[in-house]
Amino acid sequence: MAFLELNDVWFEVNGKAIVREVSLSPPPGSFLALIGPNGSGKTTVLRLLAGLLSPTRGTASLEGRDMRQWSRREIARRVAVVPQDTHLDFAFTVRDIVAMGRHAHLGRFQPEGAHDRAVIDQAMAQTDILDLRARLVTELSGGERQRVLIARSLATEAPTILLDEPTASLDVAHALETYELCRRLAREGKTIVMAVHDLNAAARYADRVAVMQGGRCVAQGRPEEVMNERLLAEVFGVQVEMYRSRGGWMSFVFHLGPVATEVAEYPR
């Protein structure tokens, strides 16, 4: 039984389809990358998977039951979300923010117990932010804030984590750390779904990719099955050169126009 599933899902706003005919089921214990150009519906698909939006047609289901039959609390224990916008205005400490991940496990009058504290500490250890625990989130860098929000999603103990372009504002080293962390979490049994713009990273780190174009999911499969020059050229409207890197994974170079093979002569 699929854990989280979109079945022929449409999402329409004012009669305009943002997402159409999408059927998607992230395989448990693997890293799924959602790729596609801006406005192709990646974020909407993530929000549908998180139950933050309800399909206007088709069904979104969790553990075989329609998403709308679950309470927010029940969903939160099963699906965690790392938002794209990591901006936080209020001067909470890092630990306060990570501890918010425990909300769905605690009753109204129930304070954090030993298990909660252990989970919070482990989440901070996994994301390497234990030494930031007393810092205020308003004083952190973008990369640190991103790790805090990933730690918060780990603190929920949800088996599925959805991430919306978590590397958008990170430098190359922090971005690679984030991908490595996600792959490691998938190896440990988490289901990871990440919307991502970096196609080289998707090819290298993801177990599977789903390609979005104009609200449709036009291809799904293992990166080497799906990410060929022809498909990427068509979906992204660019010219693509593909190489094999020394590590054996696919690597792409993109061009706006036709690939230049000779140096153009300077016009007189």
């Binding site: 998180a50 933050l52 927010r72 205005d89 209020f90 909470f92 769905a104």
Partner: protein, 344 residues
């Protein structure tokens, strides 16, 4: 909760108890403060004292209800101010932001125009309470009648719009009454906020709603914290945001309505007390909410005491809180503009 926060809360409890005793002991009627304390002690322990009976009467029937009304009103307003600031994620939000105060003013003025005081001192507060809830209800229905979901921005804007319409009606009724000197005076007095002649009847009016509402609101600190991180974030962490927001607004409006209907419009308590405490103890609503109640209660008891003791007998608590609150509000504005300028 850290030890420092527990210390701050314990300090605020002591401060509140201290100012309540002090405010009851001090006054213009000739009861020496030390004897006043002994009378209070005798009242609490049920002893008879060997002092003139009128002194005990002044304390028990005049000062104590007035001080307790001020404490309940100040506490309720500061707490709901903190709650509104969290719901709207806006530092300038205050308890009357969705039209409660405007509705209360209209209700009170209308009741006074219809001659309420000739029947009972409690009819004007009742009118104010009905006006407050009626106005909030209209704002809420207008804001949620749009496409399904209740948007915070729509709520804010319809609060401002309905508030200004109701304020215009209030001015109209006031203008109608200005020829009758006594009625006009009562209205103005109410609009300025007034603790004069507050009885145990007023305490009974404010106490149940303030107590139940404040406890209910204060128990939702964790949810409010999550709400501060954004609506989608709160939803994905397991909060039913629309239901939570509706319940918070209903309870905050009830507490605010109880407060403003008992004493009239008291500005800025709900704005500055939460901000001052946030500077001291941070944004965590689990400790901020109880602290705001205690701090607001102490603040308004002191403001009222200053008015009673000041030789200018026409100083009003609403004037005192606004004279302190206005400059603080401006300071906040200037400071937020400065940080905004620094980040751009």
């Amino acid at each position: 909760m850290t030890r420092r926060d527990a210390g701050t809360l314990a300090g605020l409890v002591l401060l509140l108890v201290g100012v309540v005793i002090l405010a009851t002991a001090l006054g213009t009627a000739n009861v020496p403060p030390l004897r006043a304390m002994r009378i209070l002690w005798d009242v609490l322990t049920g002893n008879e004292g060997d002092y003139p009976a009128w002194q005990r009467t002044v304390l028990v029937w005049v000062r104590l209800p007035r001080v307790l009304t001020a404490a309940l009103v100040g506490g309720g307003l500061a707490l709901t101010g903190a709650v509104m600031q969290a719901i709207f994620r806006n530092p300038m939000a205050e308890p009357g932001i969705i039209g409660v105060s405007a509705g209360a003013a209209f209700g009170a003025v209308t009741a006074l125009y219809l001659g309420a005081t000739t029947f009972s001192m409690l009819l004007a507060p009742t009118g104010a309470f009905i006006g407050a809830l009626g106005c909030t209800f209209v704002v809420y229905v207008l804001a949620s009648s749009g496409r399904g979901r209740l948007s915070v921005t729509t709520l804010l804007l319809s609060g401002v719009a309905v508030g200004s319409i109701v304020s215009a009606l209030t001015s109209f009724v006031l203008a109608l009454s200005l020829r009758q000197w006594e009625v006009g005076r009562q209205m103005l007095s109410w609009l300025m906020g007034d603790f004069e002649g507050r009885s145990w009847g007023h305490v009974a009016l404010v106490f149940p709603l303030t107590l139940v509402g404040s406890v209910w609101l204060a128990l939702h600190g964790r949810e409010l914290n999550l709400l501060l991180t954004g609506e989608e974030s709160a939803l994905s962490l397991g909060i039913d945001v629309p239901a939570l927001r509706r319940n918070l607004i209903v309870w905050a409006s009830l507490v605010t309505a109880a407060a403003v209907s008992a004493v009239g419009a008291i500005g800025f308590v709900g704005l500055i007390v939460p901000h001052l405490l946030r500077l001291v103890m941070g944004p965590d609503n689990r400790r901020l909410l109880p602290a705001a109640f205690l701090g607001g209660a102490a603040f308004l008891v002191v403001a009222d005491m200053v008015c009673r003791l000041a030789s200018l007998s026409d100083l009003r608590p609403g004037v005192v809180t606004s004279l302190v609150g206005g400059p603080f509000f401006l300071y906040l504005l200037i400071r937020s503009r400065r940080t905004w300028a620094a980040t751009v």
